[in-house]
Structure formats: structure tokens, C-alpha cells
């Protein structure tokens, strides 16, 4: 296959996996609609006794009782998980062919479109890898919608045709630094989703006394909080490596300074400090729940702003802007 054909294949794979993610969402919808009534009615009570007794409920009660007369809902859930795997495989195919489409062949994360494509895949992969261990079935509908929306935004607004790698990006550190940054971004995003759901559920509980509807079927506040912490505890060292070790080493080779307060570096630092504050507050000041979730979302906001905002708003002022030719900017000023 020629490079051009690979590019077409990649684009088609993106469309196909987006379609399958949509099917995943529909399957979850079907599972929700066909869920057994009595379980739905019992759910809020189960959650409230669970938290009141100081015993955290790690998995949604609905899942525990799935065996009892909810065969159809169970089937839909299995279909949804299988489809998620299928979508992830097609998504991966889109990434691989995107890399093969370039001449010479390269890693598929050299511009915003490719970064987003890879980061969403990392989110899905992290989800599937931890699906069993963290009992994440409840997260699947949110995740499929999230990934679908991000992919749509990516294709509509960020798409760029495949071009060869610029000289400045031809370095092994492109693989190490950017891959670590993508992984951390994906994992921080998972943590952020948990924190956001915590806040939504928390609000609904204070308002109505108990969580209702779908919110009742997701884990308890306590479990959400702990899950969010685990994601952040994983992401933070990875981010530290990406932004404060691999990044500076590459910057030292490429630009002759390991830290130059370039806007991208400033915001990577801000993100690091905010998440450090999150972990610090949890560990020493005992911040949990709502306050911790808000800090986590501030951190996620700075992370995404660094990705989107710096490239678009500070383009001319940042050496990390992949809109303008780097080598020109550093001469022309």
C-alpha cells in the first residue's frame, strides 16, 4: 500500500471507530432501558445504607444483582464491552496507518490532530485495561460519549493532512516525551471524569437527599473519590517524567536550554503544581471529596488549556506551537 492509501485508510478507520463508539453508547442505553425494575428501585437504598454503615460500595449494586432476571440488560452490557474492544482495535488501526501514511514512517503524534487521536485511544485503552480491576462497567456510557465527542471535534476542527516530520521533531525524544505526555493526559482525563461525576452526584445527593436515576447506579461518592485519587496518583509521576524530565532533556538538545519559561513549559509547570497541590492536600490536610475534586478539575483545565489554548492563542509566542515553522520563528522573532 502507498502512503496515500494508508492515509485514506486511517481516515476511514477514524470514522468507523467513531461509529462503533456510538454503537457502544446505544448498547449501554439499551442496557439501561432493559434493566430490571426492582433493582432500579432498590438501588438508592442500597447506596445510602452502604455509605451510612461506613462500608464503601466499590461496584454498583445493579451489577451485583445482574444475575437475577436481568438477562437482557446483562446481554446488552456484554455487547457494549465487546463493541468497545472492537472500537479500540479500529482506533488503533487508525493510529498505525496514520503513522504509515507519512513518508518516512513516523509516530502518529506530531500535530494536534494526531495527539488527540492518540490521547483518546489511550483513554479507551486505560479504561479497558482497568475495566475488571476497578469494576468500571458504570463508566462506560460516559466514556463512550466523551470519546465520541472528542473524536468529532478532532476531525472537524483539528484535522491536518499527513506531512513529513519537521527537522526539529526528528528525535527519539518525540517518542519518549510525547508518549509520556499523552499517557499522563489520558490518565488525568480518566481521573477528571471521576472527579466531575463525584461533583455531579454530590450535588444531586445534597439536593434530593439521595442520588436518582443513572447517578444512583454509579459507585458511591466515597468510591468515586478513591478511584479519582488512584488515577491521579498514577498520572502524576508520568506527568512529572514527561514534563520535567523528558521535556527538559529534549529542550536542552534542541534549543540549548532545558527550561526556558516558554508558555507551554509554564503551563506544564502550572499543571504540575496544581496536581502536586491535589496530592499534597489529600495526604496532609485530609482534603477529600468535593474540595479535592474541584482542585483535580482545575488541574485538568490547566492541562487541556495547555494543549488547546497555547497552540491557538499563544501560537506565535511558543516554541511548542506546531502551527508555525519553528526555525523561522526563532530567527525572525
Amino acid at each position: 500500500m502507498s502512503h496515500d492509501q494508508f492515509e485514506v485508510l486511517s481516515n476511514q478507520a477514524v470514522a468507523a471507530c467513531a461509529f462503533v463508539y456510538f454503537l457502544v453508547f446505544l448498547s449501554h442505553l439499551a442496557a439501561w432501558v432493559t434493566r430490571p425494575r426492582e433493582v432500579a428501585a432498590a438501588t438508592p437504598a442500597a447506596v445510602s445504607t452502604g455509605t451510612a454503615g461506613g462500608v464503601a460500595v466499590a461496584d454498583p449494586p445493579a451489577q451485583d444483582t445482574v444475575g437475577g432476571g436481568s438477562d437482557r440488560a446483562d446481554l446488552w452490557k456484554r455487547i457494549a464491552v465487546s463493541l468497545t474492544v472492537v472500537a479500540a482495535v479500529i482506533h488503533l488501526l487508525a493510529l498505525v496507518t496514520r503513522g504509515l501514511a507519512a513518508d518516512p514512517v513516523r509516530v502518529p503524534w506530531s500535530n494536534m490532530y494526531e495527539f488527540t487521536l492518540t490521547a483518546t485511544w489511550v483513554v479507551v485503552a486505560l479504561f479497558l485495561v482497568t475495566y475488571k480491576r476497578f469494576k468500571l462497567a458504570w463508566l462506560a456510557p460516559v466514556l463512550s460519549v466523551f470519546v465520541l465527542v472528542v473524536l468529532m471535534v478532532d476531525v472537524l476542527f483539528l484535522y491536518e493532512p499527513v506531512v513529513p516530520l519537521r527537522d526539529a521533531l526528528q528525535s527519539p525524544w518525540l517518542v519518549i516525551h510525547v508518549l509520556a505526555a499523552i499517557t499522563a493526559t489520558g490518565a488525568f482525563t480518566m481521573g477528571g471524569i471521576c472527579s466531575a461525576l463525584y461533583l455531579v452526584k454530590d450535588r444531586s445527593q445534597t439536593k434530593h437527599g439521595t442520588a436518582r436515576g443513572w447517578l444512583a447506579s454509579i459507585p458511591s461518592l466515597d468510591a468515586l473519590d478513591r478511584l479519582a485519587y488512584r488515577w491521579h496518583a498514577f498520572s502524576f509521576p508520568v506527568w512529572t517524567f514527561a514534563a520535567l524530565i523528558a521535556g527538559p532533556i529534549w529542550a536542552e538538545y534542541a534549543w540549548g536550554r532545558y527550561w526556558g519559561w516558554d508558555p507551554k513549559e509554564v503551563w506544564a509547570f502550572i499543571t504540575w503544581v496544581v496536581y502536586a497541590g491535589y496530592l499534597h492536600a489529600r495526604a496532609t490536610a485530609g482534603w477529600k471529596g468535593r474540595r479535592a475534586a474541584i482542585v483535580a478539575l482545575v488541574g485538568l483545565a490547566t492541562l487541556w488549556f495547555n494543549f488547546v489554548g497555547i497552540n491557538f492563542f499563544f501560537g506565535a509566542g511558543s516554541q511548542h506551537s506546531y502551527a508555525a515553522e519553528l526555525i523561522v520563528r526563532s530567527v525572525g522573532g
Binding site: R226, A254, G256, W261, T302, G317, G333
Partner: protein, 535 residues
Amino acid sequence: MTDVTERVDRQAEPLPPDLGPVALARWAWRQLTSMRTALILLFLLALAAVPGSVVPQEGVDPQRVARWKTDHASLTPIYEKLGLFDVYASPWFAAIYVLLTISLVGCILPRTKVYWRAARAQPPSAPRRLERLPEHRVFEVPDDEGTFLERARRVVGKDFGYRVRGDDAAGVVSAERGYMREAGNLIFHLAILVVLVGFAWGALLGFKGGVIVVTGDGFSNSVSQYDDFDPGALFSAGSLKPFTVDVKKFDVRFITKGRGAGSAQKFVADLGVRSSPTAAETDTRIRVNKPLNVDGTKVFLIGHGYAPHITVRDGEGNVVTPKSTVFLPESADFRSFGVVKAADALPEQIGLEGEFYPTYAFTQATGPFSAYPDAKNPAISMLAYEGDLGLDSGDPQSVYSLDKKGLKPIRDADGKPLRIDLPMGATKQLPDGLGSVTFDGLSRFVRLQVSSTPGTGVALGGTILALIGLCGSLFIRPRRVWLRTRREGDRTIVTLAGLDRSSGGDLAGALDRLQRELDPAAATAGTSGEREEST
């Protein structure tokens, strides 16, 4: 990290009591080193870093700062007072990180002392009633108490890596693990200090300079040779290594076909380097991402452009310009802007200002533009001025701009400003016997960045150490387990219980694994005895 309860009394202190200066100082120290203050300072640091990404920074891009200042005349004095053009060297930014550092030290010192004792301490002895702990197991073993306890000590201590209390009472095993968590935490905080030292070292003693060198020329590493030079506060010019660099050749390859055509793919500069004026010359080659290292000073290729040979002959026929003039690129297609100053021209000084196009193209709609970054059809388009270039006034002047105070445009026969549009090799006569302008040839220039940042290794080592410590403090889980045995008739009943000192661990799983080792029945049956589920 430290237990919450240990910190509460330090945090909750009220306003300073009416005390003497010593007590007041102690109170202030306690406030500063409290966890709450550290947290506030941390968030303040994040907030304070923001303006540096919004306002152009002196240390990052001085040219953009200058442009910003001309565009915002009324805001500039306010911003200057606030240090907003150099946020990361401003007193208020320094205040935050200095306070944070003091807070850090004030936090690490006492905790290191506490840890020094705790790290060698025996695990606490078992609570009287282990059944009251939320996570416990009760099972029966065939062995007698003595044999079982001996085995249990071995399994818990050797196989599972717990520290076992040496002076346990009869029928009891007390054990703890995860002592390295606090060590990791302390290492992380200490490592941050190491990073700060490395960073400060580089910032104080290092330098960064930029120099534009036309191919065929060279430069020697002394302050006067640099176009811009940014030394650290304690930098001394004597510490510059006395090397010289000749730029022999510069190759740039542009993509000519397909998508991405016009973007540069490869830059290579061939250099001749002498480490001292008397040393032999060695040939070397630098590229983007592949700098040259001369005795710890690094030379980077960070840009390139064109230096057209524009020759001005004055009214008397003398050549009054240097061979080549550097034009600064303005766009990705290398339309470049430059100025020629013929100060020795007679009868009048002559100045040229305008653009260079490596691949000249013209349409009515766009005017002249460069169609391609490589030099396929080089041309210049400049306006000519006569009069006083202002070079004798003593004020420093940029070589890239023309001071037009004492100049007036040279006009053509129609009275319009004279435009000098020349393809390479052509000449244009100036009116009124002022002379002529010839576009003779073309060279390329490279922009080199020369920098020395001592302490880089220290900073890197510190960051790696911080990462290791961080992982320790996040992923090592302090855990205590206890065992009690009792005889009931001829049976040995074991109660096994555990307590996690950090959240998020799988205590139940750990106890299950331990039980499987200790209780042959559980290992074969795969079931535990009495078990209460909790996470």
C-alpha cells in the same frame, strides 16, 4: 505523609498571643511551616506563573517585548513596575518560591528527625481484640501454637517482607511494612531542593548568547561578538571558553514535492572549530537536535536565513558597503527584511530598506511575494534614502532598522519614492549622481545559540530523584498485620487482622494471600473462614 492528627495542632494555632519577640518568631515559623501555608503557597505559585505566559518575557523573546512595548505605551510603565516582562525573576515571584522553600525545609527537618526514629522502631504490639478491626480472619490450624507461631513469624517476616516485632508476648505476632513510604516522601522533598540548587546554579553562572554568522565567516566566543547576550547574575566574562567557530557551509533541504512542499526538512552546518586560538582546527557538523559541545559550552543551530550581497557604489564610484547584509526572515517562505547602511557614501550617506524574496513572484492582488523558501529566483525590493543615517549621534542603533529622522527618500523622475527592484546580478543607477546599487550574489547565514548552563546534571539528577521518591511516597503502602493464637481444646484458633495506614490499598487481598500461606486448609479449599468484606 504525616498523619493528619499530628498536624492539626500546628495548624489550628490562633492569632499570635501577646508575647515577646522570640515567641513571636516561633509563632511565625510555625505558621510558615504549616501544611496549610505550604498548600496556599503552592497554589499561589501556580497562579503567579500565569502572567509570564501571557505577557511577552524579556528572557524568552526580547524582540516581542520591544514590539509589545511600542504597541501598549500606557500600560508599559505599569507592567515594568510590576516586573511583568520578567516574571520569573521578579521579586514577588521570588518571594513565593523562597517562602515555599523555607516552608519545605521547615517541614523536612522535623520530619526527618521523626522518621529517623520511626524507621528503626519496632512494629506496635497487637491490639487486644483483633476481631474488632474491620478487616480480620479467624481460622483453625492443625499445628500446636509454638510451631505455628514460629512458622507465622517466618512467613510474615521473610516471605512477605514485614518487619516482625521482636519482643511479642506469647501467642502474638506483630508486624509492619512500608517504612520506605515516608523515606520516599522525604527524598521527594529533598530532591526538590536539589533541583532548585541546580537551577539556580545555571541561572547565576551560566549564559546564553545568540550570534548570526554568514557562511564563510566565523566568530570567537567573547561577549563583544554576540548579537544578544544574556548572562547570569554572577557570570564573569573571563569564564568564557576561548574557542572560535568558522561556518564553512550550510545546507538546508526543502521538500519540493507533494504535501509539505516548501517546509524545510534538514539543516546541516559544517563548522571548523578551534578550542583555543592556537589549537588545531577540527571539522564538525551540527544539526537541529545535534549541538556541538566545546569544553562544556554548547553551540546550537537554531535558525537560518539569507544574506544578499548588495553593493552600493557612491557618487565617486567607491564601494561603500560590506560584502553581504543579513536579512531577517519574516515568514515561512523566507520573505526577509533588511537594511543597508552606506555610511561612507559621498556626497550623501545612503540607506536602503526593504525586502528580499528567495523565489520572487508577483501578482496584482498580492504584490510581490516569495513563492518558495529556497533561492530559486532571488530578488530584492527596497526603498532608497539619502541624508544622515544618524550613526554619529552616539545613540545605539539596530543594524536591522533605519533611523529616518535625518533621511529623505530618494525620488525618481516622477517624484515618487525610488523603488529598487533587482533580480540577482542586476544594477540600478541612483539619480542625481548619488551612485548605484547592485545585487551581486547571495549567501546564507546561520543563527547560532551558544550557551553554558552549569548545574544541569544536578538539576536532572534532582528531578530523577524526586520522581523516585514520589513513586515511593505514592505506591508504597504502610500496612500492619497482627496474629493472635489461642487453644480451644486441642485446636489452635488463629485470628489474623490488618490495618492499612494509607488509603486505596487492597488490604483484604493481602490478608487472603497471607492466610493462604498460613492455613493449609484455606489454600486447598480456596475459602476463608470468617470474613467480613470491606475495602
